[in-house]
């Protein structure tokens, strides 16, 4: 295995590392623990830390659309099966088929790993995709709500092009008794902001392709502020502060030898969400996926409707597929 050849994984310590004031610049361990997540990313209420997903069969079907380049195999009659399954689920309350993800499931259901990664990526990209601390992202449930909502929004805009009507349609649908938001409102305090962020992401990236007036970010921002009562994007003040901070700092200090000449040390990690995370012990985690071209393993997410929104529109992503199906 590759890991046995990296310095970070050498188990034998050199004599110099035993001296009290000489420390190796790179940690001899490889970090692959997701439990040791940065404290800043930990939720205040650990009870919220679980994933919701549907029937495992549905997860596989859903993921095959979410990740077109992965090797999910679905037998014949894919569209009908998928559609009938969705229709059946719509008639039920989500609570009946919504599970907390357990560790053993992660081992047994490959799809759960993707969901975990997706969740972790969302945490990294919280600034863009969330309105605050994002703890729960039951992507399957929300995706189905959003997928069903989009054609209604589209129809609403086509009929009179009035944004107030669009707001009403959105509210009425998302808070209807069968939606995830209404069934999971009590247990998922972040469900509302998560759903808003999710829809907003789609509208930011794909919105103007199907709703013509939806052509500026400001309009989307205003809409979500009115419909959900909060801003899901970083405000101007934040971005101004961000620019101020970044202009003050010198990125040339981000040099491995310079970092290792001081109190901080590098450690290889295989957890993407820990890339460039500095823990309280002064260990700076650097992600490497053991590929020649770093990050190549993320090609799995090409064409993903959320993570590759700038992808080629001719690709049949989940989002476009449902527009075609006109669910």
């Amino acid at each position: 295995m590759q890991s046995s050849r990296t310095l970070a994984s050498r188990s034998a310590k050199s004599w110099s590392s035993m001296l009290p004031l000489i420390r190796p610049p790179i940690s001899i361990e490889i970090d692959s623990r997701r439990e040791g997540r940065p404290t800043s990313l930990k939720p205040e209420n650990t009870e919220l830390l679980f994933f919701g997903f549907f029937d495992p069969r549905l997860v596989v079907e859903l993921l095959s659309q979410l990740y077109p380049s992965s090797s999910y195999f679905i037998t014949g009659g894919q569209g009908d099966n998928f559609k009938s399954m969705l229709c059946r689920l719509y008639r039920q309350r989500y609570g009946l088929c919504y599970y907390p993800a357990r560790a053993e499931w992660v081992d047994h259901i490959s799809g759960a790993c993707h969901l975990l990664l997706e969740h972790n990526l969302l945490e990294i990209c919280r600034r863009r995709y969330s309105g605050g601390d994002l703890m729960v992202f039951p992507i399957g449930a929300i995706a189905l709500d959003v997928i069903a909502l989009i054609p209604k929004m589209k129809a609403s805009m086509e009929s009179d092009g009035d944004f107030s009507r669009l707001e009403l349609t959105t509210k009425n649908y998302l808070f209807a008794p069968f939606s995830f938001l209404s069934t999971a409102e009590r247990g998922h305090s972040y469900a509302r902001s998560t759903t808003a962020s999710f829809i907003q992401t789609i509208l930011f990236t794909k919105g103007n392709h199907f709703i013509p007036p939806w052509d500026t970010e400001d309009k989307v921002e205003d809409f979500f502020h009115r419909a959900f009562g909060h801003h899901t994007q970083a405000g101007h003040t934040d971005s101004y502060r961000y620019d101020q901070e970044s202009s003050r700092l010198d990125i040339s200090n981000l040099d491995a030898s310079y970092i290792c000449s001081g109190p901080f040390r590098l450690m290889l990690t295989t957890c993407l969400e820990k890339h460039l995370y500095l823990d309280k012990d002064g260990i700076l985690y650097v992600f490497w996926d053991f590929t020649h071209e770093i990050g190549s393993s993320l090609d799995l997410y090409r064409g993903h409707f959320l993570w590759d929104p700038s992808g080629d529109l001719s690709e049949c992503t989940l989002f476009e597929m449902f527009l075609i199906l006109e669910l």
Binding site: I26, H275, L276, W288
Partner: protein
Amino acid sequence: MNQFQKELRLTHEILFTRSLSSRKLGERFYGRSISSECNYGSYLFDNVNSVYLRPHVFDQTSSNVSNFRFFGPRIIYILQSMEDWRPRTFREVFIPGYADRRDWWVAMFALFFGFITVVGLGLSAYQAYLAQKQVALAFEALNPSPTHV
């Protein structure tokens, strides 16, 4: 996704390609040589003989933290932590911080000479003690006390 991958690679390039020592450190980190030529085909694990990293050149895009959409906040946090780091224990006093390195060297210089001075003082005191002892012995030799009356 392209932007994410681009930023991920750029952070590696900034870390490991900007100086010879960083490059060597990077090669130790990856356990592979760092190559500036991309060899398509090698993918995972043992097929990988080198890691493709282009030498980082500072320009408007890569030298501005605000252009890092995904990793910008983390880079800022790291740089701030580097600036703000201060020793909290006696042991950490001997670790050079990132800010005010000159002060650290001055402090180490002063500490070194302080240590030499203290050791010198100790040796002087010991020397004085030995000298006093020798003087006492010499006096004792010059004025031998009568043993028999």
